[in-house]
Amino acid sequence: MNRPHRHRWQPLLLAGLFAAPLGIQLACRASEPGEQLRRSVPAAAVVCLEILQPQALLDPLLSEDFAARVEALPLWPELVENPKFQELRAGIGMFQVSLATDWRTALRELTGGGALFAAAPGDRTVLLTDSLNPDLLKRVHELAVNIARGEAEKRGEPDVVRSDEQDGLARWTFNGVESHVVSGSRLVAANDSEVLEHVLAAARGPKSETLAGDAGYAAARTALGDPAAMLFLNLRVLRHAPGFLEGLEESGGNPLAALLIGGLPDSLKSADWLAAGLYVAKGRLSAQVKVGPGENPVAPPLPLGDMDTLLPDPRLPGEIAALRLNRDLHSFYSAKDDLFPARTSGLIFFENMMGIFFSGRNLTDEIMAAPQPEVSFVVARQDFADDAPAPEPQLPGFALVLRLRDPEAFRPVLEEAWQKALGLINFTRGQKAEPGLILDRPRHGGIAITTSHFSTVGLTEAEQGNIRFNFQPTLAMPGEFAILSSSESVARRLVDSLTGHGGTKPISAAGSHTRLTLHGGAIRDLLRLNFDAMVRNNMIEEGHTREEAEMAINLLLAVAGQVNRAEFGLGGGKQPPSASLTLDFAGAGE
């Protein structure tokens, strides 16, 4: 069946924006919040977004503090001058006068009972909202009707608003395509009349055929606890969507990607659902993602070990990001031929190079078995000596931290491989008449470290800023650890961190095998340091003038300034996969 102009959403948005809540008087009454809304959504829905605690979400967004933060953004003065913004502001003013309330109160009352958006195959969507103030909803709807009619008249078009009544409910449309009803405190808006009829029929039909009776949805709710909002994906249906499984195959076919995401694509292939919960606390926004396992796994889990311990957060001075993983590289690499039968050219190159660096040792049993499964990858600000060249842009340093099973035996092996790698770099650069690395063996923290830096002999002023001066490849092996770093200063700080405190033993990670931590303050410092280079890039990437580019980068700085710390975690291994994201905002708890 053709559904012309289904994409014309403006009238629906109008209804949704100003008349959030809906109120069909349903026969069913349920005690759990939101159940009445779920009772109207057919179980065939693939994607559902449910707002369970509207106030928890709206309170921070409508607070004076949030408004002050937005108004402090560099873009704000320009935005205020924008004619479209002024038009919006005038529109809101008109609504406030017409409804005799302020927009914040109206929004709270219109959406206060909860909201649910659902989409089903075939481009079918529906939005349901419950209002705390049925009278306000009614008045908003009347206002929207008048505006739609007025706009049509202005354009010299016939009246586009239509309504008809069935079963005691008035069905409305603003454009002949979307369809909605307003009844009591509830608004139900669908992207066409057929979808609306389905929704109304579902509300009258058996609970088991709606989202309220769906076992997967109920399991997801239970798994997520008490979120302010919840996103639910029905993977049993979505799995049949074109490209879905192919996309998962693609992401799982790359060995490095498979190692990093810990077999998540394989889990999703057989899972019944994926759900995300959003939680709001003072100054903190967090999210949890859970996957509901299917009964018949389509693939065995990746051989990655127990995956329940991580190295502690290194907490380096100047730390920008730390990625901590638990990966049994030996098990993973042993199974590579089964996991990736079509070996990539990158893997072959990797094996060839490892063969050279490690003098023909068995890569699987002698090299990949050397580190413990707890691995860290650290990104941090690096320090440049006053008399050293200052590259532009100044990149952060990065370092890989491994914990060795047999440090005494493996240290000389790794040292030899490292120096061979530096030699190879020097050889290939020398072939191109480019300056090479000079090796040094200074002592730091009681151990000798192998560091290197690019020669500065005959350096011209123009070459002072060459990007190569960001790199001083360094190997340090304090205690049971091996640090392979792009930066000498980062390696030195890591040595201090790993030898100066007692907290370097692996910690229990409570089912989490991957943890990525980002530090907003250090990211801001890095952005400030490279402000000019970023402005230049922005000019040619975005076509901005210099002033516009500076404004865009300042906005980025301001946004980065809002988040103090972000942490992303992945869990799973032998358990069902899960993910978490926590954002700590600047000024939280003040």
């Binding site: 532009e392 191109k432 008449a433 480019e434 300056p435 005959g458 123009a462 070459e463 800023g465 060459n466 990007i467 280079a533 230049r536 000019m539 040619i540 990437e541 975005e542 076509g543 901005h544 003038t545 210099r546």
Partner: protein, 445 residues
């Protein structure tokens, strides 16, 4: 200007008439279309203000302003832009992106047009140079040479580390002279392949031995230089690289080679130019160099005749930079550089040492569709190009309401022939321009 015979072709036109100065008269008036033609060929395209000024000033004063005043206008612009452009761009694409940006913004479009001409005539590839900073330096060097004589330009090629690096400077030894460099210089840059023998390539290679590029700088290692006697054209003796340049200086093929290229760049690249027409230019070249030649071309009857009007295919760079300049919008040039490369004009990597084939080679079924797609994308209110080209704003900037005959305004601005229903019923400025640039005539320079 006598009335040209409608059946004239490049092969039959009288050279004396062709190169005589164009003098507008009642039968052949100076029109906005001719002014747009001059501004398009000598630059990339005109703004509304530039076009109106050109219409008021006439051909001679307009050409003078482009070729002389434009140069003075860069005295403040170029240093500011140089400061902004990174000295060590990270890639060939970044070099292209900054150059495209300069082409769009420069107050000296003729200077950038000539820089592009030299770059396309003495073409080396970024992927062979290796260091993007060297390529950026080469473009700066060519910009400085934009109005120089051909001999000066040629001489600088042998001093440019980017050229030597791209042409195998590592083999430039006494025991193994670099014939790649010598062949490129003689056959591709200076004289044309038909004027050079293998022996001459070998002799030139011997003369150029000893020069290497070490860490981005030229270095002469005397022991690697072959200081024995050589015979190259009319020059004989222990020639070095200066001797190579001197040997081509009075070679008749050099001026013919240059005249032919300038003819294709400024008059017509649809058909091969006959010697009958290019020989007078070659003779003039001896008297004053490339700029004088261009001046003579831009003032000629031939330049304003049907044998030149719309007789060049726009290269992808000309197509897009011209549109951006006319609409006075600044584009995101990094994605643009990639899109132009997809259209066959990777600014940093010309396909051969003689640049891009040009002419009819620009247009195939596939490239035509891709050119139209790119123009369509450039004019979208959002997307990859962020709506930076806004025809309504162009009109407003010149005191016109967007509803005030956008078809007439943009037809004149873009130098298209006025025809009924040119914009296919479109009314909004954006739609009008989208329709106009989709016309076949817009693909012609």
């Amino acid at each position: 200007m006598p009335a040209p015979d409608a059946n004239l072709t490049l092969a039959t036109v009288d050279p004396e008439w062709a190169w005589a100065p164009f003098e507008p008269d009642a039968d052949h008036p100076w029109t906005p279309a001719l002014a747009a033609h001059l501004l398009r060929r000598a630059g990339f395209g005109a703004t509304w203000t530039e076009l109106q000024q050109a219409v008021a000033d006439g051909p001679e004063e307009t050409a003078g302003r482009l070729m002389v005043d434009g140069y003075h206008a860069t005295e403040s612009f170029n240093p500011q832009f140089d400061e902004l452009e990174p000295a060590s761009p990270g890639s060939g694409t970044a070099v292209s992106a900054w150059w495209l940006r300069r082409m769009i913004e420069t107050p000296d479009p003729f200077g950038e047009r000539m820089t592009l001409f030299w770059h396309a005539s003495l073409a080396i590839r970024a992927d062979r140079v290796g260091d993007p900073g060297l390529l950026a330096g080469r473009v700066r060097s060519l910009r400085g040479l934009a109005r120089s004589t051909f001999v000066d330009v040629l001489e600088e090629q042998l001093k440019d580390p980017a050229v030597l690096q791209a042409l195998g400077e590592g083999e430039n030894r006494r025991a193994r002279p670099n014939t790649e460099l010598a062949r490129a210089f003689l056959e591709d840059f200076a004289l044309g392949p038909e004027s050079v023998t293998q022996d001459e390539v070998r002799e030139a290679a011997r003369a150029m031995t000893g020069w290497f590029v070490v860490r981005g700088r030229l270095r002469f290692i005397e022991r690697e230089h072959d200081d024995g006697d050589k015979q190259l054209f009319d020059e004989a003796g222990p020639l070095d690289r200066v001797g190579v340049v001197r040997s081509v200086l009075f070679h008749p093929a050099m001026t013919r080679w240059l005249a032919r290229r300038l003819f294709q760049a400024f008059v017509s690249d649809v058909d091969e130019p006959p010697a009958l027409l290019t020989d007078p230019l070659a003779n003039a070249c001896l008297q004053g160099g490339a700029t004088l030649l261009v001046w003579r071309i831009l003032q000629s009857n031939l330049f304003y005749s049907p044998l030149a009007l719309q007789q060049r295919m726009k290269s992808p760079v000309e197509l897009v930079v011209g549109l951006a300049r006319s609409l006075e919008g600044i584009l995101p040039t990094e994605p643009l550089a990639q899109d132009l490369a997809n259209l066959g004009q990777d600014l940093a990597n010309p396909p051969t040492l003689r640049g891009w084939p040009g002419g009819r080679a620009w247009i195939t079924d596939a490239t035509m569709a891709a050119r139209l797609n790119l123009l369509h994308e450039l004019l979208q209110p959002d997307g990859r190009y962020k709506g930076r080209l806004d025809p309504a704003r162009t009109m407003e900037r010149h005191g016109r309401s967007p509803s005030d005959d956008p078809v007439g305004f943009f037809t004149e601005l873009l130098g298209l022939p006025a025809e009924p229903d040119l914009a296919g019923g479109a009314t909004s400025p954006r739609e009008v321009v989208a329709r106009l640039v989709a016309r076949p005539e817009f693909q012609l320079a």
